[in-house]
């Protein structure tokens, strides 16, 4: 589902060019769940941004569901995201001036799917927030907001779901509930999940874990190869 080859990322700073990702190559199969773990500033979110097509690689290749992401312009990447990708963020990233229902409908509407409202209501029901459908994000608790975000992520049945620290802003009880929901829905939809976290426990719930350290990625576990720690 995801294939990367020698992906690097450089940024220009006031002190010159800085390479924040060393050449990275790895594959993710369809339906796989993988976690990218690492300390703050290790480059995991940068990698997520590149994999999801939110940012442009400085070198190397990324294929998403067989499509060459690295060759696409912003418009084409947006189209690809709309068609195949779902997102969950640490800070929820809900549109504050839209209700929970409208936030959930958003990807479906943008992708031009039928009955977005009905679909949104169904999925809100699944995440247990049907009764809060007409509430604005600032009227919801953090846990509820993240459940709305999860509903939004799944409404268009994406092939790949990217989650950036999905429980980073939540307390233990809410974290557990959100995690449960995330994995449940993921299983049901058979979505490929790429999750970025610094929480080892959450990472442990994924089939594979990759560790990011100073821009270098190493495989911690592998499904078909139980030998630990293999550089990718």
């Amino acid at each position: 589902m995801i294939k990367t080859q020698q992906v690097i990322k450089k940024v220009t700073t006031s002190e010159g060019e800085l390479q924040i990702l060393q050449p990275i190559s790895f594959d993710v199969k369809a339906g796989e769940t993988i976690a990218i773990v690492g300390a703050s500033g290790s480059g995991k979110s940068t990698l997520l941004g590149l994999l999801a097509g939110l940012d442009q690689v400085s070198g190397g290749e990324i294929y998403l569901d067989g499509e060459a992401l690295h060759k696409m312009n912003e418009e084409q990447r947006a189209q690809l995201r709309g068609a195949k990708v779902g997102f969950i963020f640490q800070s929820f990233m809900l549109v504050q001036s839209l209700t929970a229902l409208e936030n959930v409908m958003l990807p479906a509407e943008i992708a031009g799917l039928d009955n977005p409202k009905q679909k949104a209501l169904t999925i809100l029901e699944q995440v247990g927030l049907a009764h809060r459908a007409h509430h604005y994000p600032n009227q919801l608790s953090g846990g509820e907001q993240q459940r709305v975000a999860i509903a939004r992520a799944f409404i268009s049945r994406p092939k790949i779901l990217f989650a950036d620290e999905p429980t980073g802003n939540l307390d233990a009880a809410n974290s557990e509930r959100v995690e449960k929901l995330l994995f449940e829905l993921n299983r049901e939809a058979n979505t490929t999940l790429v999750l970025v976290t610094h929480d080892d426990e959450l990472a442990g719930k994924c089939q594979r874990q990759l560790r990011m350290q100073a821009g270098e990625l190493t495989e911690v576990t592998a499904v078909d190869d139980s030998s630990a720690r293999k550089a990718v």
């Binding site: 189209q79 690809l80 997102f87 990233m93 549109v95 504050q96 209700t99 958003l106 943008i110």
Partner: protein, 844 residues
């Protein structure tokens, strides 16, 4: 409905309901309301005042035709265009009553005269009189109060004019087109036009002016004049309109019109500033939603469509609300003014509505364009990296775009390059100076912001850190304050000048034909009644015949000669065309100013006599300093060398002269004298007994004209004051919007300070100090720019003497600091009322 339209509408609906659009909506509403109320009110008032001043010429347009009747086809054409017409013949003739006779000005008016204004008549001479809509009957005449004295007649007596006999049935107190003519000493006799021919006074050799009056729509009048102009003969015809009225009233009305225009322009600039501030804020608030839309797969085109549509919804809503509010406000002003302004303000105009809509739309589009372009460039990656803002940054382009938009709007609206250029240039100057000052302040802030963190240090530190934002804010505050100052100070100066023009006790009567021997007796008689005479001016009539020995063309006209002397009589070009009133004096009259040469107290070499010439007539007759002018006075010839050119204020109700000679040149002539005095209305009955012993002395009553002028000036002043209040209100609202917007930007910092345990009093004091500093600097800069703008405006546009306004150099910074400081403190207070958790949550 497409996805983008649906989303745009949804966002608009929710954001409007949640109050998130308040600032930008408010800015548009304000701009539309201000422009509509100002321009609608000024247009209505302008029209009403023009209508009022039309009374001075008894119509909207007048065609004077000398010694020949106008082609009847002209009147038919005017009527076919829907214009109302009337006519009047003027001539001088002798009036007889028994043994007595007097030269009179005969006015023979047609039915319908006057088209504008009213004739005033009374049953008793020298009484205030009442308006009438009728004319004398065919064999009747209404005559000036003076003629009752001159001819020794009473109401019901008959007078003979030419071959006709008329019964005097009323005292004629005033006619609207009387003008102010001190030297027109003949009393008036008003008869019907149909009786004019019977009198046989228009035969060969007589001089008759045929006047034709026209009233109607401006467009019809213009069409008629365009048609008529090629057929007019400059030697015979003279076309007059209220607008080219160079009298005191005409100038006051024109000046007021320019003031309204200025105020409207400033309102537009204020609107632009507030929309600019609001649009920037609006754009920043939408960085996250744009990043989310893009992340979720929305194309660039879809994002653009969503926000362009949303701005359109906001603009339409703002314009509609603004129109309602503006109309309501304007109606309230009209209602409040109805007791102070006699003229009817219930005329409806479409132009101001279109201007307001255009302004709202142009402001909304042009000023939100750059913030929107920035918004569109927000990268989707912002969802992961919150510090990422818009990719685009080109402040220079923003400033250029904003400046060109303001300039275009001002120019398109006013059609007056001068006013627009002056305001624009001073605005640009202000912005440039402010940039420098802000940079200096920021440096200063770095120094003052160091050390232990007190409120003062926090304030300075914030000013220095938020350098760019503060410079924008400082500029918008200063521009707002400057615009308010311009409107305020301009109003003060203008009203003061109007009042100076006609101070209480301005002479309302003139007496002429006083002989030398009567001077003392007259003075005694008047002082016995506690009436003060304002000095005696000697007058000798003479004919101006040559310049440097070269004869000038002479064409004697008696009618309205005095009037022309008073209003400048600038239509004639060849020679003076009539006898001149010559005076002499050692001292320069008040309100006269030497523009070239030396006053007569400096004797000329070679025993030549000096003459001081009014600069307007000098220009018209091509008279230069050092030219020798020749006058025929009786049988004598007097040569005098032009020793000075004088500027005369024709707006004062005082006797003014084209030629003032050196006293020694005139000592051989026996002059008559002119004097003037002020008499209160209740003392009017004293006049008859006061003047009885001086039968030859002629009284000239300008009370009616002075009151008419004062009325108009009072009304214009009242209107100007309301306009000022309107602009001040608009300006204050803009200031509030600006402070509100900047408080939002400070919210994050306040939340952090609060979280770290800073006391409310420290935060409040630091914000107060910050705004006090910004307000004071903005006020000072505004006072500086105001001085430049006012100086240019007064000199170049308003034809006034420019002066410095030192008091505002102190007042503006203090008031600026107070207002901005208080508004800042109020905004801060609102934020501090929220608890820290709520404050932080708003930031997420």
């Amino acid at each position: 409905m497409s996805v983008a339209s649906r989303l745009a509408w949804r966002l608009f609906r929710h954001e409007a309901r949640r109050g998130e659009l308040t600032i930008i909506l408010f800015a548009i509403v304000l701009s539309v309301a201000a422009v509509l109320s100002l321009s609608l009110f000024s247009e209505r008032l302008q029209e009403a005042l023009t209508a009022k001043s039309a009374e001075f010429i008894a119509a909207d347009r007048v065609l004077d035709s000398r010694n020949e009747k106008a082609n009847p086809a002209w009147l038919e054409k005017a009527q076919s265009l829907g214009l109302q017409t009337a006519s009047q013949n003027y001539t001088s003739s002798m009036a007889f009553a028994g043994e007595n006779m007097q030269l009179v000005d005969v006015r023979a008016a047609s039915e319908g005269f006057p088209l504008k204004g009213k004739i005033k008549i009374a049953d008793e001479p020298f009484s205030p009189g009442e308006e009438t809509a009728t004319l004398p009957a065919a064999n009747e005449a209404w005559v000036n109060s003076r003629l009752f004295q001159d001819l020794g007649i009473t109401l019901g007596d008959s007078i003979e004019v030419g071959d006709a006999r008329f019964t005097v049935t009323k005292a004629l107190i005033s006619v609207p087109d009387e003008g102010f003519s001190l030297f027109s000493t003949n009393p008036k006799v008003l008869i019907r036009k149909s009786a004019f021919a019977d009198a046989g006074i228009s035969g060969p050799g007589s001089r008759v002016t045929y006047s034709y009056f026209f009233t109607g729509d401006e467009a019809q009048l213009e069409e008629f004049y365009d048609w008529l102009r090629p057929q007019l003969n400059r030697e015979v015809h003279r076309w007059q309109s209220v607008n080219d009225d160079d009298s005191a009233v005409g100038r006051s009305v024109n000046r007021a019109g320019q003031y309204f225009l200025l105020a409207s322009l400033l309102a537009i600039v204020l609107a632009c500033v507030s929309i600019g501030v609001a649009a920037q804020r609006y754009s920043q608030r939408h960085y996250d939603p744009v990043a989310i839309f893009k992340t979720l797969g929305a194309s660039q085109a879809m994002v653009q469509k969503i926000y362009l549509l949303q701005i359109s919804f906001i603009s339409v809503a703002g314009i509609l609300l603004g129109l309602v509010l503006g109309f309501g406000f304007q109606q309230a002003v009209v209602w409040a003014l109805q007791n102070r302004i006699e003229v009817s303000l219930d005329i409806w105009h479409v132009r101001p509505v279109l201007i307001a809509i255009f302004t709202g739309a142009v402001c909304a589009v042009l000023f939100s364009l750059y913030p929107l372009l920035k918004l569109f460039s927000v990268p989707p990656l912002r969802v992961l990296r919150r510090d990422l803002g818009a990719n685009m940054s080109a402040r220079v382009i923003q400033y250029l775009a904003a400046a060109s938009a303001i300039w275009l709007l001002m120019w398109a609206y006013s059609g007056n390059v001068k006013i627009s250029a002056i305001l624009f240039a001073s605005g640009v100057l202000l912005v440039a100076v402010l940039m420098v000052v802000t940079m200096l302040l920021i440096r200063l802030g770095r120094k003052l912001g160091q050390g232990r963190m007190g409120a003062w240090q926090l304030a300075w530190a914030r000013i220095s850190r938020r350098a760019m934002d503060n410079s924008v804010q400082l500029i918008s505050f200063a521009v707002t304050i400057m615009l308010l100052l311009v409107v305020l100070v301009m109003r003060n100066d203008m009203i003061k000048q109007w009042q100076d023009q006609l101070p209480q006790g301005t002479p309302n009567y003139f007496i002429t034909n006083i002989t030398d021997s009567q001077k003392q007796a007259l003075e005694n008689a008047f002082s016995a009644e506690q009436v003060t005479l304002d000095g005696f001016y000697p007058v000798v009539r003479g004919r101006f015949v040559a310049v440097n020995g070269e004869q000038v063309r002479s064409e004697v006209r008696k009618e309205k000669t005095g009037e022309e002397e008073q209003d400048g009589g600038r239509q004639q070009r060849s020679g003076l065309g009539r006898e001149a009133n010559l005076t002499w004096s050692d001292s320069l009259q008040t309100d006269n100013r030497i523009v070239e040469g030396q006053w007569l107290d400096t004797p000329l070499a070679d025993g030549k006599f000096g003459v001081s010439v009014e600069s307007g007539v000098a220009e018209r007759l091509d008279i230069k300093l050092g030219d020798v002018l020749t006058f025929n006075i009786g049988s004598e010839v007097v040569d005098a060398e032009v020793s000075s050119l004088r500027e005369v204020n024709w707006q004062t109700m005082q006797p003014n002269f084209f030629f003032v000679l050196e006293p020694v040149a005139m000592q051989q002539f026996m002059p008559t004298y002119i004097s003037s005095f002020y008499l209160a209305a209740e003392d009017k009955p004293k006049l008859a007994s006061l003047l009885r012993p001086f039968a030859n002395v002629t009284l000239f009553d300008v009370d009616a004209q002075i009151n008419q002028l004062r009325d108009i000036v009072d009304q214009v002043s009242a209107a100007v004051e309301f306009i000022l209040v309107l602009v001040l209100a608009a300006g204050s609202l803009v200031l509030i919007a600006q402070v509100q917007a900047s408080m939002d930007e400070r919210q994050q910092e306040l939340a952090i300070l609060r979280t770290l345990g800073a006391k409310g009093s420290l935060i409040r004091a630091s914000v107060l100090f910050e705004f006090l500093i910004i307000g004071a600097v903005a006020g000072l800069m505004a006072a500086l720019a105001n001085e430049v703008a006012l100086g240019l405006l007064q000199r170049q546009v308003f034809d006034m003497q420019a002066q410095l306004h030192g008091e505002y150099w102190l007042l503006a910074p203090i008031v600026g600091a107070m207002i901005v400081g208080l508004l800042g403190a109020a905004g801060c207070w609102r934020l501090l009322r929220l608890n820290t958790a709520a404050l932080l949550r708003q930031l997420i």
